[in-house]
Symmetry: C3
Subunit: 206 residues, 3 copies
Amino acid sequence: LARFSLIPRQTGFFDKFKKVAQNNLDGAYQLRDMLTDYQNVELKAKELFATEHHGDKIRHEIIAKLNKTFVTPIDRDDIDKLSSALDDILDIMEAAGDTFVLYKIEKPTPEAIAMAEVLVKSVEEIQKAIDRLEDLKGLKEFWIEIHRLENEGDHLAREAIAHLFENGIQPVDVIKWKDIYEYLESAIDKCEDVANILESIVLKHA
Amino acid sequence: LARFSLIPRQTGFFDKFKKVAQNNLDGAYQLRDMLTDYQNVELKAKELFATEHHGDKIRHEIIAKLNKTFVTPIDRDDIDKLSSALDDILDIMEAAGDTFVLYKIEKPTPEAIAMAEVLVKSVEEIQKAIDRLEDLKGLKEFWIEIHRLENEGDHLAREAIAHLFENGIQPVDVIKWKDIYEYLESAIDKCEDVANILESIVLKHA
Amino acid sequence: LARFSLIPRQTGFFDKFKKVAQNNLDGAYQLRDMLTDYQNVELKAKELFATEHHGDKIRHEIIAKLNKTFVTPIDRDDIDKLSSALDDILDIMEAAGDTFVLYKIEKPTPEAIAMAEVLVKSVEEIQKAIDRLEDLKGLKEFWIEIHRLENEGDHLAREAIAHLFENGIQPVDVIKWKDIYEYLESAIDKCEDVANILESIVLKHA
């Protein structure tokens, strides 16, 4: 009494997105751990790079699967957009981590650590949302929270940058820290981009 | 002799876009007024923030309406893109205004004021274009003008930034003003993004 | 025994994209030549500007053609996206060239020249890919190479910027060179955006 199905269930894409979201979370934890336990920084940056590389691999699997799949569970274009935006988050986290090494930063500021915490929370919300993507339900609470976190990150970044100018620190250090704060803020922003893509996918299937 | 219509006319979206465009214009005027009459700057930045917050509210109304509407007058995806790009303009204007406070800027430069004027003109053109969006006619003149203004803004920004390096001013002031010029230019650029979205909507319905 | 066709073959778009790709390549060569033979810099920046202006002209021809064409060989939306991304590459190259003039740069660094070389290679790969776009075949090798070049450009930019902080150079020079390296990297990044659009066009027609 086999059940036949002309269109095989395409759970594969959702599984792969879950892998990407988990991998991004691994990267966010690595970045936070680098900043809160600031030693062996070069090694930690290399581990974050390996995570980013692993993310690229899953992204290519998604693109390859898209090549071989005739009927996709969500629009081809949205699969592509979502995969690309998730990839961007990890790319920027990796660049942020690497910048601590390249700029020979001696010690992270409390502001950088606070921003890394907001980033971790945003990436956690995205992981929870991706976990529910297949049901297209209950995602709203996640993107509301991601928008709130983006506002918090934006506020932290502005305060942190303003603070640089108040402290009479060296101009080159202003340049360095501005870059780092902007990377961290930009990674949080990218989480909001993912939330917007999820929102638009849900709208289409509502 | 009632006339029935299976698909109710969806003028609601156009009305909401007109509200967003008007709100953006309010923000542009607030920013210009802050720079040309540079006093009570913190208060003025707060008023601009309130305008930005009001814009977010209308944006959420548009998204909510999209959720409840089966047949939209223009593509769902374009409603989303247009709404998002209009939102970006005001976000950046608000960030520009706030930066004057955060960086404790004593006095706006003539270059910043000139860029704010170009920004006001761009936002005015967008408002006029949005007013005509429902007819899908006569929009071309607006986006030609918006492209021209973008070129002007780009030129002003380049000159302003080059000028910073010629004046032997302090490096931290170079950093501050570069940020402000880049915000202003980026807000003008976003107006061009809106023009491109309008152009692509017209193309689809041509 | 004529063969009739209700839908005329629309090779026109491909021809125009080839023109854009060739024009971008002209711009990339002009930028490289400016940096490797650093004299008459203002004149060379003006020539690059003329090339950019010519690119805008072809872009408008594409948009106009889109207005008059009912059935397009690839999605209207993709024609618009591809044309816009190709335009971005040249815009940024022009801005990079102009920055050498505006910032009164005395001599290009070896890092800037290395990045310009990677940029030339990326633009060459795009031109080869656009040449084959009509067949939708054999494009994969190009975008793999473009992704590789983007990684190389990213690495070069990071090293170049880190190097600025190691050399004890003046803060304003750090600011200037960071800008130039970021323009060059951003132009290379835009080539990757084009590769991603080409990839997605091929996916749709696979």
